[in-house]
Amino acid sequence: MAITKELNISPVGRVEGDLDVKVYMEDGVVTRAHTQAAMFRGFEQIMAGKDPQSGLIVTPRICGICGGSHLYCASSALDTAWGTTLPPNALLLRALGQATETIQSIPRWFYAIFATDLANKKFANKPLYAEVVKRWAAYVGTSFQKGVTTSALPVQVYALFGGQWPHSSYMVPGGVMSAPTLKDITRAHAIMNQFRKDWLESIFLGCSIERYMQIKTWDDLMEWVEENESQRNSDLGLYIRAGIEFGLHKFGQGVGKFVAFGTYIHKDLWNQPKIETRNNAVISPGGFWDGKKYYELDHLQVQEHVKHAWYADVPAAHPWDEPLPTPLPSQNLAETNFNDKYSWSKAPRYMNFAAEAGPLSRVIMNANPANKAHQFQDPLFMDIMEKMGPSVFTRTLARLHEAPRLYLMIDEWLRQVDLNGDFYIKPTERDGKGWGATEAARGALAHWIEIENGVIKNYQVMAPTTWNVGPNDETGNPGPIEAALEGTEIEDPHDPVEVGLVARSFDSCLVCTVHAHDGKSGQELAKFKL
């Protein structure tokens, strides 16, 4: 007889609002999963009818972790709507803001949110467990302390240009507010150098950035791990060894389709900001990969579905054509009917497909052979996808892999700032439609704006978490986390750490709650104390 289980984990982790995950299990395997975003604030409604620049203040406050990314989108959306002119320095300072926020997030996310789960007693029988606990246990782990505290360094650089992190509004249509001086640039170099010495090369890589950057294939990476004790015992070396030993490569596959909007607009390629010229201008390319083939990014291929979201029904539509959402009554998890509406998150689709957003999507786009000379060209993750496929392990490796390259980019962009050049060109305000996009640390983020009679008529925000935690669409296809949970083997239903690891590998913005149910009857069988 099949053993059916229902799990309730409330909450799993970790950022703004609650994410409930209902999991149905049969014989210890997840057969179906639903994600429920459990908090509504209504930012898009708040902006309607307000000053066109409201998004610069309001949208960073959607997410305190990705505030700089929201600002990158909000300013670009206005740039395209108003037809501004952007000086090269402005594009550099915006890219620096985005890059410092993202590189900060790598150790902060890895140590504070992800790796503490690997210190879970579930893995106690593994040979590397003792070392993992010594380093990554919350608060007391040797790397936890260093990783969390040095993560504050890159955002010190953000503060030099933006005044503070989180929640600056220094990117404005036409450029940036600040005009750094020589001492700001030299200080920024010095702070980043400290970050390199305190964590990036010493604790994280165990080698020089240059050595790590030589890795082009999965075999190269394995060779790098075993090359010497320093690399083997670095945190990245330990993650790769422990990740495979703990079996993280065996679960959390997802939908197998990936979307990235790309980011880091080149200083000389978007001085007249237009939606049509953005694909060529981004240094980290965007696109859509369906598991076999690359497609050039076209934001008009994006639609949002609300059939299973607590908003008044409207047909799936592109954000410019969507009405502002009308909230409907919601239920708690126990009373939710998952055949009906069940989440505050909408379900975005690209070419009608659910797609994963995040670092893994980005590094897949980086491997596109069609990338131009000024864009990232890094074949590593296409090789890893072929050899290992997507998983909790691969997704996390993608996030970590970005740190050394971002360090080099930050260094280069700091050198390119021209202290004699302009930082801002005052734009003319006008009505129109705009689109701004970027890659937040956790994935594709975009804002769509329509301005009419000098105020915001429509503002639509699509966050990476919307892509990943979104519910079923109109045709009943699951969202990426829902899909990634299906098939996951739960070793101990009393401590379903696998479910938490899958959810956290996507780095959803939401505090995650997991509830598991009988796969056949759908009934909640028992409450497990976890």
Binding site: I46, D51, S54, A138, G163, N332, L333, L530
Partner: protein, 327 residues
Amino acid sequence: MANVLWLQGGACSGNTMSFLNAEEPTVVDLVTDFGVNILWHPSIGLEIGHQVTELLDDIIKGKVQCDILVYEGSIIKGPKNTGTMNYFCDRPMKDWVRELSEVAGFVVAIGDCATWGGIPAVEPNPSESTGVQFLRKEKGGFLGANYKSKGGLPVINIPGCPAHPDWITQILVAIATGRIGDVLLDDYHRPKTFFTDFVQTGCTNVVNFANKVDGGFGKRGNGCLFYEVGCRGPMTRASCNKILWNRQSSKTRANHPCLGCTEPGFPHHDLAKGSVFKTLKYLGFLPQDVPAGNSKLGYYMRAGFEKTMHAVEVGLGIEKAHSQGSK
């Protein structure tokens, strides 16, 4: 030793992120050296699942002592006062807060959403958000004007969008080290030690303010942002230019107008057309908001005199020095 429970309602986690930037003490130091015991925190708590629900129940029943309840984010009451737009552990978050506030030693509201309602409470306030003990400038909020925690204080408000990490850690250390008696609160329940001086105190543009030299975006410290781009530094109480942000800078030092985020009412003028990064004016030239402590008429006369004289001097080629920033 102090047990801290940290919850997030209608929040962006910005205050948590700010908190993680803290130095002297770092978050880790708080735990390992200052006896701050984090019972649970949404991002950096260890318990998951039913452990959390049980913990909350144990606190409410008095089995576990909660010395400090830190609340981040607005209290979401919508729709129609049900709070069901924000479930947490299967109940509306507001119901948890109501019960926990009755047993907590002190309640600390962190950030603008928790203190005054913040951005979620901007009209039309779709989630019916409020602050814990204020809604914008009005006392009352969710817990009511008369609420006092077991420790005898009303909700301690640490505003800011986000709050500066030092404002958070120092208050936690003050409570943990038995110095709560020295924490004096102002009319908006803000600790006076951080919220008495104005943002302008320590602003590197203060000379330009005194000389009435206008600034704008993309310039280097060669003009004050009060006159054209809506800086609220002269009427906002916070220590942003005394205890710098991320140990490096502040908004106004980076040529970013102060948004007035430690005052109830942020975002000011409710994001009305023409109010974002623009100084609202009467007759096209008189600022609607004048520096705190000034009569409007008196300020207009003094500032007008300075501005006129400055324009004359620049016209004659006498004056230049103050308006030139270094590269």
